[in-house]
Symmetry: C2
Subunit: 207 residues, 2 copies
């Protein structure tokens, strides 16, 4: 029986480990597919159209917004990034699980348009641990780390808008939890084609 796929939206504070987690489960889940974003940022060396991003001009991007072709979009550093609805819809129709990470504002936009999507909030175990991870990463100056920590404190209150939470205490545990959630979501009644299911029975001769 062919089941419809679904979209998994992963949010969580910077440093929670969203990308590490997605990369950890990716090889272990059949039919899992990263969502490919559309962006107005020019391609960097080696980036491939349709794999890393869909690269579009500002005009094309704005037209996608106007034609309601984006599930969510946002602007960072004067470039726009968005999630193309058709890409996600097609993969779902094909019976795949699509996974993406997006901030809480983006997740809220998606929730309005795809209430059947699965919303997961990834948490670092403690504030101290998050601070340590951001320091270890060595990517940000102190004031940026301070800002990120403050931000994550505010963001945590939005966990109520998510379906599931995963505490990223150990990568293995977190990956197992994500796999479990994905597998359980495949058992949701809303994913079954009820007509097809009844056909399976109706086709049989009644006793």
């Amino acid at each position: 029986m062919q089941l419809k796929g679904f979209l998994i939206v992963l949010s969580g504070p910077s440093g929670a480990g969203k990308n590490t987690l997605m990369n950890a489960v990716f090889p272990t889940i059949p039919n899992l597919q990263y969502s490919v974003s559309v962006t107005t940022r020019p391609p960097r060396q080696g980036e491939i159209e349709g794999v890393d991003y869909f690269f579009r001009s500002r005009d094309e991007f704005d037209q996608m917004i106007a034609q309601d072709e984006l599930l969510e979009w946002a602007e960072f550093c004067e470039n726009r990034y968005g999630t193309p609805r058709s890409f996600v819809d097609n993969a779902i129709e094909d019976g795949r699980t699509v996974i993406m990470d997006v901030d809480i504002q983006g997740a809220a936009q998606i929730r309005e348009q795809m209430p059947d999507a699965v919303f997961i909030f990834l948490l670092p175990p403690t504030w101290d641990e998050l601070k340590q991870r951001l320091l270890d990463r060595g990517k940000d100056p102190d004031e940026a780390i301070h800002w990120r920590l403050e931000q994550s404190y505010v963001e945590m209150k939005h966990i109520v808008n998510y379906d599931y939470f995963i505490i990223n205490d150990q990568l293995d545990n977190a990956a197992e939890r994500l796999r479990t959630i994905i597998n359980a979501e495949w058992c949701r009644v809303q994913r079954v084609d009820l007509d097809e299911l009844q056909q399976l029975w109706k086709g049989r001769k009644k006793p």
Copy 2:
């Protein structure tokens, strides 16, 4: 972090394998607890009060109904059977998963009173398979099997009122799916004490 437990309500046509499935997962899930029903039926030899059933007089049972102490109840063969709310509530507060099987009418009663319960519909793979199982069981006369099969056809339409479906093609597969659903449900945001979660962070000195 202490999480609240939840109630799992398992329904499905007679012969779908509800009891076999519950018995199969039981030893593998920590903190799983069968719901104990209350009944007006007299105890049979060896049955223990509070383990097999809570045995009550008809008057006591009716008083429980009047005082809204039952999540659902029904009458079979002139005996009444019901699910005591306090038993389920206490186990949930203790952080346990409570599991019960009940027909679709009982499940509908529970859904109204415990919208956070998890509703699972167990399906035999096909009508023919179900018929074969009922015949193999050798428990029912032919007309009863005919009636059960007709009944299961009607009942299947109620699957839309359930959260999850499990197709009981192989007991091992079905048990794995039930375990997965239970484990995923423990990651639901609604099971977290959000105050406690924020405390975990608030307690830390801000950077």
